[in-house]
């Protein structure tokens, strides 16, 4: 009987797209500043999502917001972020430029893995919202010792 050697377990990654993604990242890294990759979801606020061994990090630029203007809720591996940016109106002035915008926003962010929602921490410093989300034990990489 013929065994299909390509079907051996352990040859493929768990996610078939992961390898493509890794390659793409690597190419981007090599390309350096030539192409910068910004994938816009088109929903305010734009967020950056990163991870390290233990946490996911979400960052968003929200200048002028107070912590009280924000509502962050986490359930499972989704995080909802909503709030309102207020800009107080100035009286008896003549405007030359008015580019800063006020308004409401609401967005849902899906995390790529399971998170420990109990220990999420968020901070708003100099107009940057940073949320750190601890990965659940299952989502963390585990080192396997070889005996």
């Amino acid at each position: 009987m013929m065994t299909n050697i390509f079907a051996l377990p352990g040859w493929g990654r768990s996610n078939p797209l992961a390898e493509t993604e890794r390659l793409r990242r690597e190419l981007d890294r090599l390309a350096g500043g030539l192409f910068r990759r910004v994938a816009q979801a088109g929903i305010f606020p734009a967020v950056n999502l990163t991870e390290d061994r233990d946490n996911y990090y979400i960052r968003a630029e929200l200048p002028g917001l107070d912590a009280a203007d924000l509502d962050i809720q986490a359930a499972g591996n989704t995080l909802s972020l909503s709030g309102e940016r207020k800009i107080s109106a100035e009286e008896n002035v003549k405007y030359h430029r008015r580019e800063r915008e006020a308004g409401r926003f609401s967005r849902i962010i899906h995390l790529p893995g399971a998170a420990d929602t109990e220990k999420i921490e968020a901070s708003l410093v100099n107009g940057i919202l940073s949320i750190s989300i601890p990965k659940s034990e299952a989502a963390k990489p585990r080192q396997i010792r070889v005996n």
């Binding site: 990242r25 500043g33 910068r36 990759r37 910004v38 994938a39 816009q40 979801a41 088109g42 929903i43 305010f44 606020p45 734009a46 967020v47 950056n48 999502l49 990163t50 991870e51 390290d52 061994r53 996911y56 990090y57 960052r59 630029e61 929200l62 200048p63 002028g64 917001l65 107070d66 309102e84 940016r85 207020k86 800009i87 100035e90 008896n92 002035v93 003549k94 405007y95 030359h96 430029r97 008015r98 580019e99 800063r100 915008e101 006020a102 308004g103 409401r104 926003f105 790529p112 708003l124 100099n126 107009g127 940057i128 940073s130």
Partner: protein, 134 residues
């Protein structure tokens, strides 16, 4: 009312040809509000991520230059999963048509918003001239 408006994402505007760059990295044009009343010109600029001490304001002749340097805040071991915006310095230049009292310029940076108050110089203030009648 504007309060009820849904905010839309606006892509950060990269500076087309900034003054000669010493350090590399993207440079963005901050969104600003500029308004004036009789006494002063006020400039509000969105510069998220810039610490108060990293804001640089320069007024020479009548050219006002605002720059904001940014320190990377990602941890060393972090890998990008999704990048929707880029982080970089801010740079913008304005030409002022009014004469500004340089000694009284005030700058305050809070919550990622710079507020710059430029008081008009005395001679630029409108003055009422009373006509005396005999």
């Amino acid at each position: 009312m504007s309060e009820q408006k849904e905010l839309q994402v606006r892509e950060k505007q990269e500076v087309a040809s900034p003054a000669e760059q010493i350090r590399s990295g993207p440079v963005f044009t901050p969104a600003v509000d500029i308004f004036e009343n009789e006494k002063e010109i006020v400039l509000l600029a969105d510069i998220p991520g810039v610490k108060a001490e990293d804001v640089n304001i320069d007024l020479r002749e009548n050219i006002l230059t605002v720059t904001g340097d940014i320190a990377p805040f990602e941890g060393a071991g972090e890998q990008d999963l999704l990048t929707e915006y880029e982080v970089g310095k801010y740079y913008r230049q304005f030409t002022l048509s009014e004469v500004i009292d340089q000694s009284k310029i005030e700058a305050k940076s809070e919550k990622g918003v710079l507020r710059l108050t430029l008081p008009k110089a005395e001679k630029a203030l409108p003055r009422r001239i009373t006509v005396k009648s005999n």
